[in-house]
């Protein structure tokens, strides 16, 4: 066992080599292995003490201890106390059960990770050949199979950022009249179709400011008519409009 971690002696320098644990499960697994006991019969009291000692050592070394370690520390104490209580014969399951199950699962994860590392190790020096090729007909770098919604959203953000850069606020287009009534119908359709409609980014990307204003009025009108609800998680975040299910009362629409 590395004394720097679980031996309890404060190291002279905080830079001593320390096994890096990937989390509380990793640390627990390490302790169980050091004890050379079966994972199915963990001496909780001893492991619990060692676990807390390890945390203390990490603290002394000024290592930031992630919250998960503390959660598991509390859990270990809870299991320990449960084990001290008299148990009804064959009724309750072993208080250690869930912890053991997680450790077993985690051990599999670690084994699989080692397996993957081995695969990569075997492939060192295996490089795709790079030949001088005739020029591709188009700049096509993205394999559709690996293009996911994140790539899509990022692409949108790029477009919007570029758009804002290239269109300083002085933008003035032909003054076109927009009718609130027309926008109400248009917006209502969008909301119904998308179920959760990002109003803010829609408004901010309209080519015409007057259109944005008209759209905003239309949005307010939709909410007032009880046909849409608006949500905003925090100030300045996106405002989402969702349909309430109420139909649009066509006769109530004024022609502004």
């Amino acid at each position: 066992m590395d004394p720097a971690v679980v031996g309890g002696e404060a190291p002279l320098r905080p830079s001593v080599v320390l096994p890096v644990f990937e989390g509380p499960l990793d640390l627990l697994l390490h302790l169980v292995r050091e004890e050379k006991v079966s994972i199915w019969d963990i001496p909780i009291a001893r492991i619990c003490a060692q676990y807390h000692e390890a945390l203390r050592a990490m603290e002394e070394m000024d290592l930031e201890i992630a919250g998960e370690y503390l959660v598991y520390a509390a859990w270990l104490l809870l299991i320990k106390s449960r084990l001290l209580l008299p148990r009804h014969e064959g009724e309750e399951k072993d208080p250690r059960q869930e912890l053991v199950e997680r450790l077993v699962e985690y051990e599999k994860v670690k084994a699989a990770a080692a397996e993957l590392a081995g695969l990569v190790e075997m492939r060192r020096g295996v490089e795709a050949v790079r030949f001088a090729a005739p020029p591709a007909p188009e700049d096509v770098e993205l394999d559709l199979e690996d293009v996911d919604v994140l790539a899509l959203s990022r692409a949108l953000r790029q477009v919007l950022e570029r758009h804002v850069r290239e269109h300083p606020q002085t933008l003035q287009l032909e003054p076109i009249r927009f009718s609130v009534r027309e926008k109400i119908i248009e917006l209502f359709d969008l909301i119904r179709r998308q179920r959760s409609f990002p109003l803010l980014s829609h408004l901010l990307t309209r080519p015409d400011r007057l259109e944005s204003v008209t759209l905003l009025l239309a949005a307010l009108e939709l909410v007032r008519l009880g046909t849409a609800r608006s949500h905003q998680r925090r100030p300045f975040a996106e405002i989402y409009l969702t349909p309430t299910g109420t139909a649009l009362p066509m006769d109530a629409l004024t022609d502004a």
Binding site: V149, R157, Q194, P207
Partner: protein, 184 residues
């Protein structure tokens, strides 16, 4: 002489990843101590001859004072075919951007897409329609009644979305890809 074959294999591997003509000096240096330039030349010749035979699509060329591995000219046609085929199965950055604009702003007209992207996107939209990721969704009732575009059912299937509301929100994207991670 296993020595020669081993050297030849090494030469071939280097030529295959170099992407440019490799000088004899460089090969000799990599071959390490005790290997004479003459031996390396022999190895190059070995690789060259091996690719001269029928059944190889490659050749060793002596250009710009160095050696390089290249495809043979008789396959140029097939290579173009392949690159064209691949292009049809992939997305360009322009296509991805356009698809993103349509996905998040649908239904949307061509002038609106052009306005947002700042470039004419007609050809890209056509490609997306051909690839069935985008469909026409009627006309907008404004001057000129331009066509409206929206994403297709195939689009939802490809991206594993149940409906459009399942597209990630800007907050989610930020969480997962982090700030400034927008460049690949």
């Amino acid at each position: 002489m296993p020595e020669l074959k081993h050297l030849a294999a090494m030469v071939e591997a280097i030529l295959a990843v170099a992407g440019e003509p490799v000088m004899l000096d460089a090969l000799v240096a990599v071959a390490g101590q005790g290997v004479e330039p003459g031996q390396v030349e022999e190895a190059i010749e070995f690789v060259r001859l091996r690719h001269e035979g029928e059944g190889s699509g490659l050749q060793v060329e002596h250009v710009a004072g160095g050696w390089r591995l290249a495809t043979r000219s008789e396959h140029e046609w097939a290579l173009r075919e392949y690159l064209g085929y691949r292009a049809r199965a992939r997305l360009s950055q322009a296509a991805l951007e356009t698809l993103a604009v349509i996905a998040y702003r649908q239904p949307i007209t061509m002038p609106e897409i052009n306005f947002l992207r700042g470039v004419n996107s007609a050809a890209v939209v056509r490609t997306l329609v051909e690839r069935k990721l985008v469909v026409v969704a009627g006309r907008k009732q404004v001057v000129g009644t331009p066509l409206l575009y929206r994403t297709s059912k195939e689009f939802l299937v490809h991206f594993g979305l149940r409906d459009l509301s399942a597209l990630p929100t800007p907050e989610e994207v930020e969480q997962v890809s982090g700030e400034g991670a927008s460049e690949p």
